[in-house]
Symmetry: C2
Amino acid sequence: MASITKKVSWSSRSDEPGLGEGTPLLNGAGAPRYSRQLSGSGVFPIRRLSTVDLEEDPTAEEESATSHPKEIPHNEKLLSLKYESLDYDNSENQLFLEEERRMSYMGFKCLEISRWVVCALIGILTGLIACFIDIVVEKLAGLKYKVIKEYIEKFTEAGGLSISLVLWALLNATFVIVGSVIVAFFEPIAAGSGIPQIKCYLNGVKIPRVVRLKTLVVKVCGVICSVAGGLAVGKEGPMIHSGAVVAAGVSQGRSTSLKKDFKIFEYFRRDTEKRDFVSAGAAAGVSAAFGAPVGGVLFSLEEGASFWNQMLTWRIFFASMISTFTLNFFLSIYHKNPGDLSNPGLINFGRFESDSVEYNLYEIPVFIGMGALGGLLGALFNVLNYWLTIFRIRYIHRPCLQVMEAMLVAAVTATVSFAMIYFSNDCQPLGQDQAENYPLQLFCADGEYNSMATAFFNTPERSVRSLFHNPPGSYNPLTLGVFTLSYFFLACWTYGLTVSAGVFIPSLLIGAAWGRLFGIMLAYITPYGSIWADPGKYALIGAAAQLGGIVRMTLSLTVILVEATGNVTYGLPIMLVLMTAKIVGDYFVEGLYDIHIKLQSVPFLHWEAPATSHALTAREVMSSPVTCFNRIEKVGTIVDVLSNTSTNHNGFPVVTRVTDGDNDEPGKICGLILRSQLIVLLKHKVFVERTHSRLNQRKLQLKDFRDAYPRFPPIQSIHVSQDERECMMDLSEFMNPTPYTVTQETSLPRVFKLFRALGLRHLIVVDSENRVVGLVTRKDLARYHLGKHGLEELQLAQT
Amino acid sequence: MASITKKVSWSSRSDEPGLGEGTPLLNGAGAPRYSRQLSGSGVFPIRRLSTVDLEEDPTAEEESATSHPKEIPHNEKLLSLKYESLDYDNSENQLFLEEERRMSYMGFKCLEISRWVVCALIGILTGLIACFIDIVVEKLAGLKYKVIKEYIEKFTEAGGLSISLVLWALLNATFVIVGSVIVAFFEPIAAGSGIPQIKCYLNGVKIPRVVRLKTLVVKVCGVICSVAGGLAVGKEGPMIHSGAVVAAGVSQGRSTSLKKDFKIFEYFRRDTEKRDFVSAGAAAGVSAAFGAPVGGVLFSLEEGASFWNQMLTWRIFFASMISTFTLNFFLSIYHKNPGDLSNPGLINFGRFESDSVEYNLYEIPVFIGMGALGGLLGALFNVLNYWLTIFRIRYIHRPCLQVMEAMLVAAVTATVSFAMIYFSNDCQPLGQDQAENYPLQLFCADGEYNSMATAFFNTPERSVRSLFHNPPGSYNPLTLGVFTLSYFFLACWTYGLTVSAGVFIPSLLIGAAWGRLFGIMLAYITPYGSIWADPGKYALIGAAAQLGGIVRMTLSLTVILVEATGNVTYGLPIMLVLMTAKIVGDYFVEGLYDIHIKLQSVPFLHWEAPATSHALTAREVMSSPVTCFNRIEKVGTIVDVLSNTSTNHNGFPVVTRVTDGDNDEPGKICGLILRSQLIVLLKHKVFVERTHSRLNQRKLQLKDFRDAYPRFPPIQSIHVSQDERECMMDLSEFMNPTPYTVTQETSLPRVFKLFRALGLRHLIVVDSENRVVGLVTRKDLARYHLGKHGLEELQLAQT
């Protein structure tokens, strides 16, 4: 895990020094000053990782470039510069304020109503997508198992079982190849569960293409293929991503991909509003996946929100409610039982209702122990997956390799499953209730079925349910043990493959298996076997522990599990278990999603600044010097700055300079303008001549900015003639005249709090004269993190 | 509801003009400028309520003083100046930063652990208090009903029922008098449920004495008395207040009332940390009251939080969990069934488990209709209670009058109950299960009991449970109708009395009664009576609708009800019902708690600035001119400013003046210092002489500020000699050197967002030269609100 970077370019090399967002810092002036300050107050030595300044050692760059030609520089100690931020703080420029002031009270009421309408639409569409996935997966998987079962039954006595194996492996591999090809070649962002991506989006990081229609289509098809392909995956995680895409699409009232603009919801065409809807979409996704509307809201808040807003929470809640209801309603029709609302989610844990499953006080320590075990196993899972992901990033980054890996996993999964079923001779009598959909007789006597087959020869959702509810004695302890072990490694290998798939269900399944095993063991070793009678209860607790140990959510997961089991009796034990799992797991390694976010070098802002960062102030944190514009700026200058690919700034303070001739003196802040706004201005050629007569007669409106949102053209696509370069541009009307500012002495936690709470993208640092001296962006804050040895600083890299 | 103010003093009258927090505005300069601006952009006329400036019309003041001598100026269009704010933004002065920098990583870990310990203690103590209340109420009420039952049975045939009535009324009145006297004479803040007060506290308003030990003692005793006294009240609401007090006490590691300092948790002695614990305490209270730990967390967030912090949420969750567990554990011991954790909360709705109570799709419109009805009835309740409260504020503000009113209500409640029981001849056969604790035979045949008596002759909690679970046919529709009607008015009259009592249970009871009636009616009028068979289901929905219509919570209430019923099947209908109730109710009038907050003229900050307030900027909103101090200021000046009772400022910008001689020129901002900090400085006499030699050798530490927190002495108690007045005070070390600032052009929504998200108390408005031109405080923002006719401005009054 050496911190190797293939191509790192520091801003101080650029010709026009200055920093906006997307600019590395470590500027010559900042670092020494900062070190001095530290040695002055001198308690926290900050470990600078690989303090070699690449610029001063030009060989380093080449070396790394030659010695690891194929290696992509990924490392959890790096912060990528390729991610931009979203503008969760409104740019309150003159146009915006004028529009707001023109709007009547009724106008705001209508807006509010349309927000609710959008949330209803999000809920309905998310529910329908969930419904579609559920039905298609059920049909495909049913078909597949039926075919294989026929073959197995036909050939078991003939001894030609290998044919069945080949058939099974082939069928699985076919599904998985399809799923993997569309992901790898058409939309790589649709890989995995999508939860890390949505977390980043809600945090304020712009992940390219994450909420596009194409992503949704690939995601939905991909998840159907991977589940039908028998991989150790779930279809629940991807629902969250799907819901988010639906939300982002519906709320904009148009589809850029389909080139269709419905001319509605134009007011919502900015990042702030879109984010709110995406939260609702994610919640609707959880709600449809688990039938857990409250859990969905909490998930959205726990993973995404920064500012708690009551009205927003209610809308999110509304979307979740509609989503689970839609799914329930349509599934009830599909199951030819309209009106019977018993399918609130994709996964159905079945009811835990009988009195036998109540727990007792003396069981609580046992549950806590299981939580600790879950934490340990979860940490192991995460560490293994971490190594695997590092390996994948380094060596399996070509699409065709990725498809081959997915195919391999599919084949291995089928083989392992088959071997397990083949070598196990755990025969159980066929129950009267026919809970198993595809009971395999194999070498069992008539009237019996192979119990290992129920675990493997089924969709994971059904297996989980069987583990929860099958009566005591349905499973042989050895079967469960072997199953746990093999499924653990399969699931770990599978997560991170280039397929759309979630990790919730595999985690639950692993946990349910060892939990049930644990319950059976308890009944064996204790004298009063009867009181531990129900292993299903332990399966549930084990499932919670394992899932908690892997993803490390507590509050939202508790509610999701309670809602999915339909019983609040287990609320307390589930909470305890999840909390224990989190505490134990956090001791070793972070949660799975956070690991993946870190490995992508995403500048993710956590809840608070690192505890020991009070020694740092805005002066050390900020980037400087800053590229500023004058209130009335030459078009040529603007085009040149925007075209400078080495800096690629996104936000520019607008200043009024006191001494016009001497440009070295920083100017007084009077506003902030974004790259996207400048692009629109240039595109519409809103120039004034030196005589201040406006060239372009048409007044630019907010609508022009909204129409361009969110895919602003690159500067290269805008042609500016030599004459036009000599014109001036008056930015006053378009800049945000009241950006937030802090002074240089402000401590890092204070800067962080302001930045995080208000969802800022650029925070201007001024001196006592209100002159711009620096700019703080997301990357400047995200690079400080608390490592094992105190405060560490991540490197910025152009990965 | 005329807006009459007895004593209003505007700041512009004060000798030393200037504004800090707690200063009225409407300054001569601000208003006209603002009106001009409005007529310029001119879309939203802002209604200025009673624009008569009392100062220019001196007779107005006298008139109101003479014509309504006894009248206290309360009006929902006023904003009281008596409420101060809490400092939820840390004052990051040099002392604080030094301490933070000195602290090691382990130090922060220890702090984090002690936070968890405090939360555990909060949970345990809150659970124990709930346990105590529950047991004492049960004992007392049991004793009372037993005595009365004996009397009734003895005298029913002798015809001397009036003796029983008198006895009942007397017993009730005695309890209520005790409860009312301790509240009215010892701690008036303990009246009511305490939820509005805790809402205000979490919002950042300092309600005097709200989290003191004395308040807790009075609250607990008061609630026992009022429940035992048979009033139409619940003991659940007060648990929230109790939990909050426990939290505020435990987290400080000392009791000022008991003069005991444990020298622990000293780090938590500031408003920011205390607020976090109070949130946890409130959640623990809800959790103990309803056995709803998740609901508790959501309640805390919905009613209080502004910034969602994951770690904080988990701690809150932990406290809630411990609280319900403690209650459950000790109640199980009390009920001689240790280990049986079936009493998670004070109220137990009983289990809704049988399949017969499942709902069907076609019932959903019916539920929504019930939600609308609940919203209507809730609005009616609130409007009636609003008028009643206005009446009470005007005429019943002496403690003895308040006690008399409480006594009257107690007697009337007993009389009404008795009359109902007496005149109803709804006899039901005694069930085998003996669900009723005190079945009254009265004039019924042997083996039968009076059904009206089960509703009235019982604690409200038991009545609710009976309505939910008694088999169909237990209640006569007429009985239910009459009961609903009488209990509705009784509960409405009772809420707001000078007793400690909650409104949750009465609301649930009213709703359960009409809900059950509704269910019975449905079964009558529809052809397929059997499908509506279970009236208990409708009782539950009715209870939710009524409670939602009165308090207007949605998300948290859904979860609370789901957790209290122990069944998530009803999650969806309960949500729908609560949402409908809220929408319908909000159309007419606000929620009950908001009404009471408004009637107290509390400067409560809602979630967002009014929608149509973009036309306003910081310039119009701010108070100015501002009283500022120099970095090195004369002690005499400071003492004079602090002693000025007409302004009573709490925060002072510290400035450096460019031209020393001319004081009219506003100085450049360099910090912010609080009244409380200045008081501590004066008390410790940290003066420097003109020669800059420090007089007081002892260096002041953070500990000195913490020891004085939260009851800083008044300025009058600090003696400063004439010599000392001539000394200077160096504020640099103690002021917050990096206060948040905004420019004058910042729009109100932007100011509001900054203020609310960061929990500020003072926000400094500067011009382009960083000179202080104004100060925005809570009252400046809270006074804008959206009325029926657009943006309205509340008046500030020294009530």
